[in-house]
Structure formats: structure tokens, C-alpha cells
């Protein structure tokens, strides 16, 4: 469902964030994307949702060529990918409910359907009683879970998470990871970028490791 073929990304500054990255993910897979900070993890994720365009190579998602996608098609690509951002990217001028409902409103769903799905997503991440709270009143872990609820509320086939356990203690990190595993069990393809190696080894799934823009894949070791 997701294929990188010799993908390189060079920034205008001359820095090469990715060089010749190739991998393939089947629908329903669960993979970790690891590497030092600056190894290219964020760049790789940005390429998938067309926040950045590759300098070379091809990216295929669900049969669509992401690097040739027109700007007007980008929103429809993004609706198929749920993204949990490292900085949460929540809107602080509206409550938890409105934050989670945003992708559904953009998608044009019926208000009754939106209500049901938002409540289901919030109870899934354990925040059913917080829908009227504002993000500023929530802890970092709770904000992270609001971000997760928003990423999955639209039932996307692919879920990306950028350092979802970055600032959390080990116990909370484990809870968050369990959530992602549960989503994976119902068929969602999951990619999680993290530098928390102990957690990765504990779970033991496929690991795509980036080192200075180059790839080492545990599934197909070089």
C-alpha cells in the first residue's frame, strides 16, 4: 500500500535529508521508523502526506503516485492518512470535541454521524469525559491522545505518528503504544517514528532504521 522507490530529498540549503530510500509496506503492517534526530524520519513522513516533495524517486500510496499528485488532490490524499504530530497541532481556541471533529467536518459528514464518531474516538483514547475541555487545560499525555483521536476519527487506512511518546513517562508510553497496536489489529497500517529503542525492542515489530538519510530495514536487511 505504501512504496518508496529510490526516494531522495535534498533541501535548498543543500542538506540531503534522504538518499535513495526504498521500502514497501503492505496493508495492515505495523512498522517503527527509527533513527537519530535529524536522520530523516520527519522528512519521510512529510513526503507521504505531500508536505514536502521528493527531489528524486517515486512514492506510491494506494496506487497513487504521491510525487506527481497535483496541489488540488493533496487534501484528498491527506484525508486517507491519519497523522499524530509530535507537537500535537491542536487548536487552542476550541474544545476537545471540536478538535477531534475537524477532519469529519472537512470531510463533510452529517452532524449526527460526526457526533457518534467523535464520541467513539474519544472514548477509545480514554477522554470521553473531556470533550468540553480546552486543550490548554489538559496534560501533555492527554493532548497527545486528543491528537490520536483526531488522527483516527476519519478511519484512515494509514496512520502515521511522529514521536508519539516523546515527552511521556514509560508507563504512559506503553499505553499509547497499546492504542496503536489496537488500531493495527483492526486493519490500519501504522508507521511510528520514534527514537525510543527500548520500546521498539519490547514490541519487536518491523523496524525501518534511518541513518543519515540512508535506510536499514529489519524486514529486508541489507
Amino acid at each position: 500500500m505504501l512504496t518508496f522507490d529510490q526516494v531522495s530529498k535534498r533541501y535548498p540549503s543543500g542538506k540531503e535529508a534522504l538518499s535513495g530510500v526504498s521500502f514497501n509496506m503492505e496493508a495492515g503492517e505495523f512498522a517503527f521508523l527509527t533513527g537519530h534526530s535529524g536522520a530523516g524520519k520527519s522528512t519521510l513522513m512529510k513526503l507521504i502526506i505531500a508536505m514536502e516533495r521528493p527531489t528524486n524517486g517515486q512514492i506510491l500510496f494506494n496506487g497513487e503516485n504521491v510525487n506527481r499528485i497535483s496541489n488540488s488532490r493533496v487534501p484528498y490524499l491527506r484525508r486517507q492518512v491519519g497523522v499524530v504530530f509530535q507537537n500535537h497541532q491542536l487548536l487552542f481556541d476550541r474544545n476537545v470535541y471540536a478538535n477531534v471533529a475537524l477532519p469529519l467536518e472537512i470531510g463533510g459528514h452529517r452532524p449526527s454521524e460526526i457526533r457518534g464518531r467523535v464520541r467513539a474516538a474519544l472514548s477509545k483514547v480514554g477522554l470521553a469525559d473531556r470533550e468540553n475541555h480546552f486543550p490548554i487545560t489538559l496534560s501533555g499525555g492527554e493532548q497527545q491522545r486528543v491528537g490520536i483521536a483526531r488522527a483516527v476519527v476519519n478511519r484512515p487506512p494509514l496512520l502515521l505518528a511522529d514521536e508519539p511518546t516523546g515527552n511521556l513517562d514509560p508507563e504512559l508510553s506503553k499505553d499509547i503504544m497499546d492504542l496503536f497496536l489496537q488500531f493495527n489489529q483492526v486493519g490500519v497500517t501504522v508507521v511510528i517514528a520514534t527514537h525510543d529503542i527500548s520500546l521498539v525492542e519490547q514490541i519487536g515489530n518491523r523496524r525501518i532504521d534511518l541513518n543519515q538519510g540512508r535506510l536499514r530495514d529489519s524486514k529486508w536487511p541489507i
Binding site: 500500500m1 496493508a27 495492515g28 502526506i49 508536505m51 494506494n62 488540488s72 487534501p75 484528498y76 490524499l77 491527506r78 484525508r79 486517507q80 497523522v83 504530530f85 497541532q89 491542536l90 487548536l91 487552542f92 481556541d93 475537524l102 477532519p103 467536518e105 472537512i106 470531510g107 463533510g108 459528514h109 452529517r110 452532524p111 464518531r117 467513539a120 474516538a121 477509545k124 483526531r150 483516527v152 476519519n154 478511519r155 484512515p156 487506512p157 494509514l158 489496537q182 488500531f183 489489529q185 483492526v186 486493519g187 490500519v188 497500517t189
Partner: protein, 321 residues
């Protein structure tokens, strides 16, 4: 669990009618939301509305005043007129014969005699000095012949004037076209001035509303970024700002309408008196339903136009990072 997330194949698909309904829903929501958000910062909103109102009201008032001046032109049929004031001792029947002779000339299209009595009656009617005239022993007004020349060219009229001057019974020849033409040239100048002021102020309105929208876009930058990240299309992102422009324009037009109506109320008294002194029954009218509609429509359109320009320039620069 299963109803929360599912594999790609079951991701919800919507039919055309669903999407149309959603589109309508979002329009209705944003229509209201854009207005409500304006009231979140009432001082800023009112300031913009007032500036727009003044910028729109000024050309409208100028236009109405010019329209009033334009009625003067309608009273004049456009052909120059010459008045021959006859010697006061000319008898009425002699004046009649003279009128007939002048009317028969090839270079004259028509000649009408206004006798002493007619002149007196008219003077009484319009001046209000009838009592004074009645106290005089006899009618001090001369008879006159009003002539419309056949040619309107300056040279022909100069020749005609010179020849009429030669008439023995004629005391004075008065040609009224020159000051009329001068007045009309001034009116035309004023019209063009009003048009240029109108254009300049309309551009001003575009800039004012455009700038307000630019600031709002800046304030809602993070929201725009997040909406783009989770799959909002450009038109979805643009919509609130187009409605904001609409409300700013409509509110400004409403203010302008109020300013214009108040001004008309304030000016109508003196203008009616001025019109009466020119034997004109013109009265400044309040804006009717049609004109009100036109002002409101024009203002809203300007607002939307300003928004389109501003959004086009500033929105594409905001991309999620």
C-alpha cells in the same frame, strides 16, 4: 473497536448529494460564524465598518447632489435662446407685427411675443413682489420676444445677434446660452470629479477590507495550517474569509446608507429653498428600496472582491510546517 477504525477499503465514501448537502451546511455555518467572529472583536469590526461607511457615503452624496444639478439641464431643451427686450413705448400690435416679421426670417426657427401684461403676471407669480408692482402707476416691464435660432453654431449666432441689434424697436438683445454652457461644462467637470473620487474611494474600501482580512488570516494561521494538514481543500479554507469580506462590505454599506439618509434629511430643507428660487420644484429624495438595495449589494460585492484579492495573495503562502 471495529466501528472506530477499519481498513482502507471500508473508508467511508460519499455520494454527490451528500457532498452537496455538506457543502451547503458548511456555507451556512461559515456565513453565521464569520459574523459572530466579528463581534468577538467589536471595536475592530466597528472601526472597519465606519471607515468603509464613510468611504462609500461620500461619493453617494456627491452623486445625489449632481443628480439634482442635472435636473436643471433637463429644464433646458438644449437650443440657445435669444431674448429681445423691446422699447417700452412700443404698442402691443406693433410688437405683434415685429414678432411675425422676425419669425418669418430664414435664420430663425421660432419667435414668441411676451407682452407687458404677460411679463408682469409672470414676474408676480415668481418674485413675490406683486404688491410693490401694483403700487406703481404703470407696468415698468418691457415686452419681449423670445427667439430660438435655427443654427446653433457660434458664428451664425453672432451674425444673427448683430442683425437683431439693428432692429429699431429693440432696446436690448440678451443671449443666455453662454452662461448655460459654462454651467454645463462645470457640471460635467463635477461629474467626472465625482466619478474619480468614487473610484479612488472604492479602491480604498478594497484596501481597507483586504487589510482586515490579511490580519484575520494572520491571526488564524495555526488554524489554517491544521485544517490543511487534516485534508481541508483550498476552498474550504478560503470560505470563512470570503464571508468575512461579505459581512465587512455589507456592514459598511449599511453604515453608508445611514450616513446618506441622515445627510439627505439635513440638506433637503436648504436645497428645496434653493430650487424654489430657481423656479424648480426639485426636492432631495431619501433613498428608496431600490437604491438601498443597490447600495447594500454594491458594498457586499466590494467586500467579497476585496476578500478574493486578499485571500488569493495571502492564503497560499500559509503551508503547514
Amino acid at each position: 473497536m471495529a466501528n472506530l477504525t477499519a481498513s482502507g477499503a471500508s473508508m467511508s465514501r460519499q455520494g454527490l448529494s451528500d457532498r452537496f448537502a455538506a457543502w451547503g451546511r458548511h456555507h451556512r455555518f461559515v456565513f453565521k460564524d464569520a459574523l459572530l467572529r466579528l463581534f468577538d472583536t467589536p471595536l475592530a469590526a466597528i472601526t472597519t465598518w465606519m471607515v468603509v461607511a464613510i468611504a462609500l457615503a461620500l461619493p453617494i452624496i456627491l452623486y445625489l447632489l449632481l443628480n439634482y444639478a442635472g435636473t436643471l439641464r433637463q429644464d433646458w431643451d438644449g437650443s440657445p435662446r435669444i431674448s429681445l427686450y423691446l422699447d417700452r413705448n412700443v404698442a402691443e400690435d406693433v410688437a405683434g407685427i415685429l414678432t411675425a416679421r422676425i419669425a418669418a426670417r430664414v435664420d430663425i426657427s421660432s419667435a414668441t411675443l411676451i407682452t407687458k401684461q404677460q411679463a408682469l403676471a409672470e414676474f408676480e407669480r415668481h418674485s413675490g413682489f406683486g404688491d410693490i408692482l401694483n403700487s406703481l402707476p404703470d407696468n415698468p416691464l418691457p415686452a419681449l420676444i423670445e427667439i430660438t435660432p435655427r443654427s446653433t453654431s457660434g458664428g451664425d449666432i453672432q451674425l444673427l445677434l448683430a442683425s437683431l441689434q439693428q432692429e429699431e424697436l429693440v432696446e436690448e438683445v440678451v443671449y443666455d446660452a453662454e452662461w448655460m454652457l459654462r454651467l454645463f461644462t462645470m457640471l460635467e467637470l463635477a461629474e467626472r470629479l465625482t466619478l474619480s473620487i468614487g473610484i479612488v474611494l472604492a479602491v480604498g474600501v478594497l484596501l481597507i477590507i483586504g487589510n482586515t482580512i490579511r490580519l484575520t488570516i494572520e491571526n488564524r494561521r495555526s488554524e489554517i495550517e491544521v485544517v490543511k494538514l487534516v485534508g481541508g481543500t483550498d476552498s474550504f479554507v478560503r470560505r470563512p474569509f470570503l464571508y468575512l469580506g461579505f459581512w465587512l462590505g455589507l456592514g459598511g454599506a449599511l453604515g453608508a446608507w445611514l450616513v446618506v439618509q441622515t445627510s439627505i434629511g439635513y440638506l433637503s430643507g436648504p436645497i428645496e429653498r434653493l430650487a424654489q428660487s430657481y423656479r424648480n420644484d426639485f426636492a432631495l429624495q431619501f433613498l428608496g428600496i431600490e437604491e438601498t438595495g443597490l447600495v447594500l449589494l454594491g458594498g457586499s460585492l466590494l467586500g467579497v472582491l476585496a476578500s478574493v484579492f486578499s485571500v488569493g495573495r495571502h492564503l497560499s503562502r500559509i503551508q503547514p510546517k
